[in-house]
Structure formats: C-alpha cells, structure tokens
C-alpha cells in the first residue's frame, strides 16, 4: 500500500526516459504523435459508440473541448506552473483571439491564417497592458485583478455593438483549405490536426524556454521572488514574459476555436472557463507538461461523457475534483521531486 502511495508515475517515466539513447527517444516521440494522430480514426479499429457523448460525436469532442482544453491548459501552465503566478482570468485571452477572428473575418473577409498572427498579437498586447500594472502585485491581489480583467473583457463584448452584444457574432467562416486539406463541418478531423500541431508547437516552445534563461528565471521567481530579485533576475520582465507567452497560446486557441464553431457569444467566455482551465492544470500536475495534458484531456472529456446525467453532471464533476485533490494533492502526474521540495520550503 505504501509503495503504491509513493509511486510517482512522473519520476518512473523520467527514469525510463533517462535510460534511453537519442534514437530511442525520437522513435518514442514519433510513436506517441502517431497514436494521437490516429485518435480520430478510432472507429476503424473497433466500435467507438461508447466514446460518443450524448450531444456530440467523439471526433467533435476531440477538437472542443479536449484539444482546446489541453492547448489552453498548456498555455496557462506557463503562467501558473512555471512562474507561479495565479491567473484567474485566462479566458480573456481566449476571448480576445476568438473575437479578433470573428470581427476581422466577418467584416473584412480576412481568412483564419491571416488573422491567426493578428489574434495572437492582440492577445499578447492585452497581456502586456494587463501585466504591467498587475504583475507588480503578488499572490491573491494578482488573482483578483486577472479575474476582473476576464470579466471586463466579457462585459465589454456583451455591451458594445461591434461584438454583436449578447447575441454574439454568427457566420464566422471556416479556415480556407490549405494544401488541399479542407476545413469544414464535414472534416472535423482536420481541425483536430491543427489543434494537435499547435499543441506540439506549444510543447516545443515550453521545453525550449524551460532549459534556457527565461525558464531558469521563472523557476527562481516561483520558488522565492525576493531571492530571485536579489540574485539579479529582472522579475517584472520575466513575469511579464511568461504572462505574455501564456496569453499568446490562449489567443491562438481562440482564433481556431472561433473558426471551428462559426458562431461565438459572450456566454462562451465566462469566469467558469478560466476556473476549469486552472483546474485542468492543477488536476493533472502543476508545472509538468504530461500532467497538464492528461488533466486537460480528462477534465474536458469527463463532463461531456457524463452528459447523460443531465442535472447531476456538474455535481459529479465537483465530486471528482474534491476526491482527486484529496487523494493526490500534487495532481495526477506531479512535477519532479526536486522541484517539489523547494516549493514547500518557500511557503
């Protein structure tokens, strides 16, 4: 029993990984990507009706919420997990990306691929605008400011004309076909591949950052901000960096989301979504990419799968959160032990 309690899948995985040489690792990574790529084709290998959710087919659920949640959880993980800043308004960046796509495509006829960098850029700019004043604050003061920002973005979208008010914006075009790959209602699989590509890009980016200067600065800030500042880390700049990069991922997710669902309204960007994304990060294992992916996928899929419970659905979801956090406070796949000990020490 005790060995089971101390069993840490993340450490075990790291151990196995450390024992492999480079070709082995490359093969493994490609194998995982290949398996993920096969997910939408699960129906060809056997009956998949048990995977379907009451209102959407399995493939649709793979794109939203599963893929989107994983992507956003990875983005939020840069802020919450890497540099230890509590952001309760992450949905704002998602909304900014989605509304850029909606407004620019319906009013000016720009396609998704042109809007994508603009949406990311706008999300980053708003990250700077919010971050510059907010990141001077600590802990829960930052939390309430970000929460307020999320609400402000939603309220503005609800009350001004260009966003269509409470009705939102209908008729957002799908992305144009790219190298002969079509993106429309008949090909939900292709959306899944866009999201997977973005997830891979995000993971690659996080890994690059983690082993370089910004990653080390974030680690120092998370463990003890005063000490980091004393050691010469420009804390405000690096906090702002993590905030803005997180915002960029959220914005990118928003652009793709808007062009997938074709109609958006302020209802989709409520505070609950920020909380849900944060729950994905903590549930899976703060700061650990694999944990966050698993957490995002599970917390996105479970509520959809148990939709047949209708009213009790959210209740069961809440119970899952309580039980899981009580059993595994560090999440399903916690981050490395080394990092955890220091984290406790800095309390």
């Amino acid at each position: 029993m005790n060995t089971l309690k101390n069993f840490n899948l993340r450490d075990k995985g790291a151990e196995i990984w450390a024992g492999w040489n480079r070709p082995n690792r490359t093969i493994f990574v490609f194998f995982v990507i290949f398996m993920v790529g096969l997910l939408p084709f699960a129906s060809t290998f056997g009956p998949t009706s048990f995977l379907n959710t009451p209102i959407a087919s399995y493939i649709d659920v793979l794109v939203f919420p599963v893929g989107m949640f994983v992507l956003m959880a990875l983005g939020l993980n840069i802020v919450v997990g890497k540099s230890g800043l509590l952001d309760l308004g992450y949905v704002a960046f998602f909304a900014i990306g989605a509304y850029s796509q909606a407004i620019l495509s319906t009013m000016f006829g720009w396609n998704t691929w042109t809007v994508l960098p603009i949406g990311i850029g706008l999300a980053m700019v708003s990250g700077v605008i919010l971050g510059l004043p907010a990141l001077r604050l600590r802990g829960d003061y930052l939390a309430i400011i970000t929460l307020g920002f999320g609400e402000i973005v939603r309220i503005i979208a609800l009350n001004i004309e260009v966003t269509g008010g409470p009705n939102g914006i209908p008729g957002i075009p799908n992305p144009p076909s790219f190298l002969g790959i079509k993106f429309d209602l008949e090909n939900p699989r292709n959306f899944f591949y866009i999201v997977v590509a973005m997830i891979l890009l995000t993971i690659w980016m996080i890994r690059r950052f983690t082993i370089r200067r910004p990653g080390r600065a974030w680690e120092a800030i998370r463990q003890d901000e005063d000490v980091a500042a004393l050691m010469g880390v420009n804390t405000l700049v690096y906090k702002l960096w993590s905030f803005v990069i997180g915002a960029a991922v959220g914005g990118a997710a928003g652009v793709i989301y808007a062009s997938k669902v074709m109609v958006i309204s302020p209802d989709m960007f409520k505070f609950e979504l920020s909380i849900l994304i944060l729950a994905c990060v903590v549930f899976g294992g703060i700061g650990n990419i694999w944990g966050v992916i698993v957490g995002g996928a599970l917390l996105a899929y479970i509520p959809e799968r148990i939709r047949f419970l209708t009213e009790a659905r959210q209740l069961v979801f809440g119970l899952v959160l309580i039980i899981m956090m009580n059993l595994r406070p560090d999440g399903l796949l916690p981050r490395k032990k080394r990092e955890k000990i220091t984290e406790k020490g800095s309390k």
Binding site: R138, F149, N159, F271, P329
Partner: protein, 320 residues
C-alpha cells in the same frame, strides 16, 4: 456607446447613498467571511459564496416550510414579526456556520495535513463549491424563489426625497453591530488573540500551545456566522434567491476584501462599504451594465498606489 449621466447624482444622491450603504454593508459581512479565512490560511475560500447562498435558503425555508408563511401571507407586526426575523437571522447564521465548517473539513483539512500546495486547496474548494451549487440547484430548482414579505417596508424618515426604510436601516445597523462585536472579540478575548497569533505565524503559535486546527475551525465558524447574517439581510432587502445567487455576491465580496486589504477586518468592512457605494453610483451614472468594469478599474488603480489594499499594512510582506 457609454453615456455618462451625472445629473442623476444631484437628483438621487440621498437614495443612492442609502442603498449603497445597505448593499455595501451586506458585502462587508460576506467579505469578513473571506478575510477571516484568508488571514489564517492565506487562501481564498472559494466556497464562501455557496455558504452565502445556503444561508439565504435557510431564511427562506424557515419562513415558508417551518413557520408556514406563503407569498400570499399578509405582512405581520409586533412581537410575531420581530421573533420571526430574529429566528431567521439565527437560522441563517447557524446554517451558514455549519456549512462553512463542513467546507473546511472536506476541502481543506486533509490537504493541510498532507502539506499540499495552496493551489490544490483552491481546486478542492472549487470542487466543494460546485457540489454545493449544483446540489442546491437540483434540490431547489433553477427558478428564482421569492421570500414572503413579512416586514412591511414602512419608511420612518424621508431624507431629501429618499425614503429611509426599515429594511435599509436593518441592513445598516446589524452589520455595524456585528463588526463591533467581532472586532472586540478578536482584539480582547483569548480565542480572538489566538486567531491573530496564528495569522501572524502558524509555527510560533503552535509552539505557544495554540491548537491550530481549533483556531482554523473557529475562523470558519466566524466567517460562516457573518456570511449567514449577510444572507438574512439580503433576503430581507431583496426578497428573492436562486441557487446561483452566491456567484456575483462572492466575486463582489472578495473584491471588497481585496480593496480594503485582505486579511484585515477593518479593510473588509470599509472595502465593502466603498464597493457598495461605488456600484450604486456607477450604475446610476454610466448604467448598471458597466458597474463591474468601473469597480475593477477602481480596484486596479487603488492597488497600483496601495499594493496591499486601502488598510493593508504598508510594509507587509504578502508571502505566498
């Protein structure tokens, strides 16, 4: 797009002031719930909004199910009225306190024993909050439920065209009394002092022989009691509730606590009043849809100049 209408202030100043004060003091009571727990645990008690919501249902069900009043009942007077109101107040406070203690047991205690990080507690509190919210949603249905109007809302004095009604007076007097009692309790009694000791240093107070778990439960009880009083006042003034009534109240009260300086009793009190007044005046001047935006912009500006809130200690290191 955004139209400012400043003439409203001149015309309706007294009534805006009274409503703002009443609303603000209700906020203040709920934010005491946040601030008490925060002072000791350094955690946002996300489930406090649901403690408030269940408190409102305690008043509602006491009046309708136990005492048998209906929405068609005529208003009551004299001793019967005051007994009913007092009983409702006590019921709300007790039920909320019990719920708050249960929240602590389910969401925080085990995690604290394991020395888990604060985000884990945050998520488990959110889980408890979801369970309470959805559970009440299933039990009470999704439509708003109105409380019987037992108190005839007579106005006993007219100030500049505004009616100073009896329910407004209650919503102003009761929180002030509670605040004075609580303040004396925290500064004068042994138990109150132990709460302050734990909020200064958990380890040192443990060395001094203070039972940490007892103190933490006590803060949840106090937070539940003040939040329950707020529920009762909310039902008396606004007369209806719904299973998700706690959400907006929770965000507003937490904002109030931060505005005043979280972890600080005085801060929660004045933060609540400031927030209530701000909401009323902003609704009148720019329109109620923009009141949340105004509040948050003011909050950002205040925190820029006073990073620990209006009443936070100047050199306090808010280590998290």
């Amino acid at each position: 797009m955004v139209k400012m209408n400043f003439s409203v202030i001149g015309n309706e100043f007294p009534s805006l002031l009274l409503q703002g004060l009443a609303l603000g003091l209700i906020y203040a009571l709920v934010s005491l719930g946040y601030t008490m727990v925060y002072g000791v645990l350094r955690l946002i008690n996300f489930a406090n909004s649901e403690v408030f919501m269940i408190g409102t249902f305690a008043t509602l069900y006491l009046q309708t199910k136990v005492l048998g009043y209906t929405n068609a009942s005529p208003t009551i007077h004299g001793a019967e009225l005051w007994w009913t109101l007092a009983l409702s107040l006590v019921a709300s406070m007790l039920v909320s306190a019990v719920v708050a203690v249960l929240v602590e047991l389910v969401a925080y205690r085990r995690l604290r024993a394991k020395g888990a990080n604060r985000l884990a507690s945050l998520i488990s509190a959110i889980g408890v909050s979801i369970v309470l919210l959805e559970g009440m949603g299933i039990v009470t249905g999704s439509r708003p439920q109105s409380a019987p109007r037992l108190l005839e809302k007579w106005s006993f004095v007219e100030i500049g065209g505004a009616n100073f009604r009896i329910d407004t007076l209650m919503a102003i007097v009761i929180p002030i009394v509670i605040f004075i009692v609580l303040n004396r309790f925290v500064t004068r009694t042994r138990l109150g002092k132990s709460i302050r000791a734990v909020s200064m240093s958990e380890e040192n107070s443990q060395l001094m022989g203070i039972n940490i778990n007892k103190v933490i439960t006590l803060t949840f009880v106090i937070g539940g009691l003040t939040t329950g009083a707020a529920s009762f006042l909310f039902m008396t003034v606004y007369e209806n509730t719904k299973f998700n009534v706690g959400f907006n109240m929770g965000i507003a009260a937490f904002t109030a606590a931060v505005l005043g300086g979280i972890g600080n009793l005085k801060g929660a009190f004045y933060g609540g009043i400031a927030l209530g007044l701000m909401e009323q005046f902003a609704s009148a001047v720019i329109g109620s849809e923009w009141k949340a935006v105004t509040v948050f912009v003011v909050l950002v500006v205040v925190l820029l100049f006073k990073p620990n809130g209006l009443f936070g200690e100047a050199v306090q290191q808010t280590r998290t």
